[in-house]
Subunit: 387 residues, 2 copies
């Protein structure tokens, strides 16, 4: 185990009906609320009306920022920062999935920063604080509701970058499983791929003697594997969805990476893909992850064998660690197909054309990876095998 610092101050309100707390919770931080949301699906489901009513009943005034898209853009963040300044917003309330939450995080931090918020991603500027931020989650996927990460795309430079900063923890998050029941199946699938991919990133690492971390990660993976099909097959099964929702939060709230050296290489390769091609993040992860696993399998065969045995219940027989690990990886790929995720770049319309350029850019931003530090050639090989 490695030394670590763990701190996570986000307050969670979890369960059916918790949405109605949103007014009173926001009001603790101030009166003027920026309501940030996405493409308007929350208007169809009635969630928008419910939240606005709650806020007003609590004595809050509401300004809106709508139209935050998947792979959220820095231009939208800039727009949000301006509104906050103009309207003297006290608290940002993000209602949506990871994209809306991440944009809201950078808006809340950007308000207290004099320069351009893209500076946070290029290293030109540093986050030194944020105005209060609450969230109401409508898609279980990124874990943004309880972590210090944000991913934003610069549409001009086609860069999609992640930052981690302790100021980016939301002050509170409302996790009401009823709010995720209406998610379209495709989005739900990609959310599920994203959450299990977060566990992979923190489970496959080179640090020895992390038995508790291993078992916690295996717990989350096994639960996702058991409950995802139930949830996807019955979108009204709020018991299944609440379990998936809790898995998603714990999969990426820094608990699993305490004491290990998480890899995150596949995420970095995927951010480049979805930055350039605007494909869903979960689609890119389902395609790349099995390839990355096969690529690094010879470096940590024991861990992959453990994965096959404990997570997929594949009996060892008289197989070597590497052979057993390979069976676990194949089972993972098959499971992605079963739940309806792509496993080839061609399935999402991506060909050979820009792979080299992308590999070069990812490597340049490196070092990436902990199981293996990936060179441009490594990345290109993984991209090509994913075609």
């Amino acid at each position: 185990m490695r030394n670590f610092e763990y701190w996570n101050p986000t307050r969670l309100f979890f369960g059916r009906g918790e949405t109605d707390r949103v007014g009173q919770e926001c009001r603790k931080y101030g009166e003027r609320v920026l309501l940030a949301y996405g493409g308007g699906s929350i208007k169809k489901t009635g969630l928008y009306d419910r939240i606005v009513r709650c806020l007003q009943e609590a004595g809050c005034s509401v300004t809106e920022l709508s139209g935050i898209q998947p792979n959220p853009r820095i231009s939208k963040v800039r727009e949000g920062v301006e509104i906050c300044r103009k309207e003297k917003v006290d608290v940002v309330l993000a209602v949506g999935g990871g994209s809306v939450l991440d944009a809201a995080k950078i808006i809340a931090a950007g308000v207290l920063y004099e320069g351009d918020p893209w500076d946070f991603f290029t290293g030109k500027g540093t986050i030194k604080g944020k105005i209060p931020l609450g969230t109401v989650l409508t898609l279980a996927a990124t874990g943004s509701e309880m972590n210090r990460n944000a991913v934003i795309t610069n549409e001009e430079t086609k860069e999609k970058l992640v930052i981690k900063n302790p100021h980016l923890f939301p002050d509170f998050s409302i996790l009401d499983p009823e709010n995720i029941l209406t998610v379209p199946r495709e989005h739900a699938v990609y959310g599920i791929v994203d959450m299990i991919a977060h566990v992979f990133e923190q489970y496959f690492h080179p640090v020895p003697e992390t038995p508790l971390q291993d078992r916690l990660a295996e717990s989350i993976m096994k639960t996702i594997i058991e409950y995802a099909p139930k949830a996807l097959d019955n979108t009204a099964d709020s018991h299944a969805w609440e379990t998936i929702m809790w898995c998603s939060t714990l999969a990426n709230n820094h608990l699993l990476e305490a004491g290990v050296s998480a890899d995150w290489g596949t995420h970095r390769m995927e951010l480049e893909l979805s930055g350039v091609y605007d494909i869903p993040h979960g689609a890119g992860l389902a395609i790349l992850f099995p390839q990355w696993m096969e690529y690094v399998l010879p470096l940590i065969p024991k861990k992959f064998a453990q994965f096959a045995e404990r997570v997929w219940d594949i009996p060892r027989g008289n197989r070597s660690d590497e052979d057993l690990g390979k069976a676990g990886i194949e089972r993972t790929r098959q499971w992605f197909r079963e739940i309806g995720a792509p496993t080839r770049l061609r399935e999402v319309g991506i060909g050979e054309e820009r792979l080299e350029e992308m590999a070069e850019r990812v490597a340049k931003r490196g070092p990436i990876g902990s199981v293996k530090v990936l060179t441009k050639e490594d990345i290109l090989t993984i991209y090509r095998r994913s075609l």
Copy 2:
């Protein structure tokens, strides 16, 4: 799953060598430090000198409160509160196990309360804040380092009571496995019983559909069962001890009870025992828990069967849930014996004499238990079967 609120703002510094942060961390909260500790073992190990030096180098002045005993007493808390007021202490630093930490929590809260701190336990007064509190853990057991609980004994009334309050989270805790390597074996054994008992309390409950919580709890139990013998047999095995230490913190930091209805009945019965007889808390738990398990087995036989299969790897064969569950309970009792814990009241010198009086008092303070709300008769039966 039940609705829940989760919030845990304690900052952890975990790993070998982290002790040396203590000065700089305290200094963030102020200059005048109350160093609270126990019987002086930290002087023998050199930890005391190391901490005082760190504090002084960081520019802190140190006042001391020593002699905090296991089953810490309210009189000692009162003494600490007075010192803090007289010396205008800015931050309390607890160096020790759960007893020292719990006393320090109530001291830090008591400073901001005008009445007697025992009021917090009787309900006569409420904790509305505390002065800053840091901890350096020297025994893995109670989880106090990252939770909002405190247990204090009133030596005049022979009451040992627990309170839970969000102000009782330490601001920071340093978990350095090197600080627990010198713990005498007996204390280490009782610490291990205590931590696994915390998991039992939150694992055996009547709420359906808590699959992730179940697996997380099973992860911690399996890791404790695997690593406790390694740690006890080789007290210098810092890899084993760091794992035990992390298990202990996660066993009782409110993560496992999110979404369930934890029982805590056995803890309540034990606090009465160790309040009256001053036996180690872990000893009382090892004696009472298997008896409580057998008593409530018929109410949640499926959960006990799952416990036997997943935690103890006992094959089902053609047994009923109840028979399989019984085998798991018997294995638990046997494991307590293997690591050197008592499993009978007579082994710690307790006879029939005061059982009825104690059962009456525990029941009166109730309701206790969630699997079964225990009446005086239930409690007395469990006490008697434990003789």
